[in-house]
């Protein structure tokens, strides 16, 4: 898919911007703090309705502004006008101080974003890896998001009951309906995450092999205390075993919110890798490996939002990354320093403005 044009109003450090990007590789260059990442955020939000950077909507509107808006044209395929959609999104401050996020969904529109925070997928806490796989699973299966929201709702309510210290039979009877829902919704989450991991595996091996000089063998696995089980009954049984500890801690101790991904290179935990460049490369490879399965699921290629994706990589690896990007559809790549790439459209980002270089 492609973004034909975008209009950005009162969004981060942009007052108004009207911009027509190129259909393939767009290089966004400019000094620090000029709005490169903000522009990627706006492009991503136009496509998906959400920011890849924050869940706090209040951060997004230009400081002091009561609303933000985005408009633009999304197209799939190059020719047919039927495959073009003009979308509008607005963030508006409500009376109670909250923010309303309005705009329609475009079923086939997808964006894959890479940024410095993705290093956390490799060396951060398990939560970062769960977020990664849930984000990817949502791009493959949009229903995953509703399941995730429902799971969190059930979990919060079950934890509250555990904290209430309900003992004995009355406590068990109160927990029961939440156990059943947790098990059912939890297993649905786990099943989709496993499918997502399987969909990632082959491409990850190919992409990492192509990018890294060492051609290391990389592997991702889904890790859960439930082993290979796929029935809600298994999660129910695990909850029953954990009951005593859960009541003491006031927390749900088994379920997909405790699961993790194992990411290994040549059978070594990627976290243990000393080289920062290597960690960045694995993180980038994970995002690039998403492209093919997401394209197949959505019926059109996602746009790529790559924030400073080349930094800390050596020239040889950079060249391989750029070669890989040459096969992608529309790409937005930011760099703080000038960079020459054949066939790329180059734009200068400066103080909330974008101009062809």
């Amino acid at each position: 898919m492609q973004i034909g044009w975008i209009q950005v109003v009162e969004f981060r450090n942009y007052r108004t911007l009207n911009w027509t990007p190129a259909p393939r590789l767009n290089l966004l260059q400019g000094p620090n703090a000029q709005g490169k990442t903000n522009l990627l955020e706006a492009l991503g939000m136009l496509v998906t309705g959400r920011s890849f950077r924050t869940s706090r909507l209040a951060e997004i509107p230009r400081w002091g502004a009561e609303s933000s808006s985005l408009a633009g044209e999304l197209g799939r395929g190059e020719a047919e006008p039927a495959a073009r959609r003009t979308v509008r999104r607005t963030l508006t401050k409500l009376e109670d101080g909250g923010w309303q996020n309005a705009g329609e969904a475009v079923e086939w529109a997808r964006a894959i974003a890479f940024g410095w925070q993705d290093l956390e997928i490799i060396n951060g806490a398990p939560g970062a890896r769960r977020n990664f796989i849930d984000g990817f699973a949502t791009r493959l299966y949009p229903a995953h998001l509703a399941t995730l929201v429902r799971y969190r709702q059930v979990l919060a309510r079950r934890n509250r009951l555990l904290q209430g210290g309900w003992q004995g039979e009355a406590g068990a009877a109160r927990l029961e309906p939440w156990n059943e829902q947790l098990a059912e919704v939890g297993m649905e989450l786990i099943a989709r995450r496993r499918k997502a991991v399987a969909a990632l595996q082959t491409e990850l091996a190919r992409v990492y092999g192509a990018l890294s000089a060492t051609r290391g063998k990389v592997e991702v696995r889904y890790r859960t205390a439930l082993g290979e089980a796929s029935e809600p009954a298994a999660l129910l049984a695990a909850l029953a075993r954990a009951r005593g500890a859960e009541l003491r801690r006031g927390q749900t101790l088994v379920g997909p919110h405790r699961d993790d991904l194992a990411i290994e290179i040549d059978a070594t935990d990627a976290r243990a890798f000393g080289s920062r460049g290597q960690q960045r490369l694995v993180a980038l490879a994970l995002r690039l490996a998403e492209i093919l399965p997401v394209t197949e699921a959505a019926g059109t290629a996602p746009i790529l939002l790559l924030d400073d994706a080349l930094s800390e990589l050596d020239p040889g690896v950079r060249a391989e990354v750029l070669r890989e990007l040459g096969t992608a559809e529309q790409v937005f790549l930011t760099t703080p320093e000038p960079l020459a790439v054949e066939g790329a459209a180059v734009f200068r980002v400066n103080g909330g403005g974008v101009a062809a270089a």
């Binding site: 009376e95 919060a156 309510r157 009951l161 009877a173 109160r174 029961e176 309906p177 829902q181």
Partner: protein
């Protein structure tokens, strides 16, 4: 600093306590009412007082009513073998609007909600069990909302009713995700009722 005259400030303050109404909306409503004819405003204030004075909960089904038992409970044409359990009186109204359901109702006046500290004892559960004692009811339809609280309430009741040996069904999913019965359209709700299934 300028202040509103006391009656104006008092109304703004009162309106603001209603759910979903912030200070700006409360002001807008107040000035809207000031412009309306006196009798229209009197009608509004009298209807506010009347709901508090004349409306009670039916002591059988816990629907809101001006006569106890309510018209639905008193109607001999309604099938006493079917009992539909809903969370709130407005859910009952939504069910009635489908025109498909000819049984009776039981309103729980809430749903299990750990975050609000609402447990089974805060709902009309004991009263529900009481209504099932004489064996007239053959099927209980659990029509609580499709959100996590409504689902938990249905699962809780299903487990509680199982030993009584009657048919316990849950209205079909397919209602808007996380939505309320109240907002489901009539066709969707009729389908959900029709597609109800026994829950184990």
């Amino acid at each position: 600093m300028a202040h509103y005259p006391e009656p104006v400030a008092r109304l703004i303050d009162a309106l603001q306590r209603l759910p979903g109404i912030g200070p700006k909306t409360a002001q807008r409503l107040t000035f809207f009412l000031l412009k309306r004819p006196a009798e229209e405003v009197r009608e509004l204030s009298e209807s506010l007082v009347a709901v508090k004075d004349r409306i009670v909960y039916c002591q059988t089904c816990f629907n809101v009513t001006d006569a106890d038992p309510c018209r639905l409970c008193a109607d001999p044409a309604r099938d006493a073998r079917l009992l539909c359990v809903v969370e709130e009186p407005n859910d009952l109204m939504a069910m009635e609007r489908t025109g498909e359901y000819r049984g009776r109702y039981h309103v729980l006046l809430g749903a299990l909600s750990p975050l609000d500290g609402i447990g089974p004892d805060d709902l009309k559960v004991r009263e529900l069990l009481g209504r099932l004692e004489n064996g007239t009811v053959g099927e209980v339809i659990l029509a609580t909302n499709p959100n996590v609280e409504g689902e938990a309430t249905a699962l809780y009741l299903a487990r509680l009713l199982r030993p009584l040996g009657l048919r316990v069904t849950r209205i079909a999913r397919g209602l808007p995700v996380g939505g309320d019965l109240e907002y489901a359209d009539q066709v969707t709700l009729s389908k959900a009722l029709e597609g109800r299934r026994e829950i184990s």
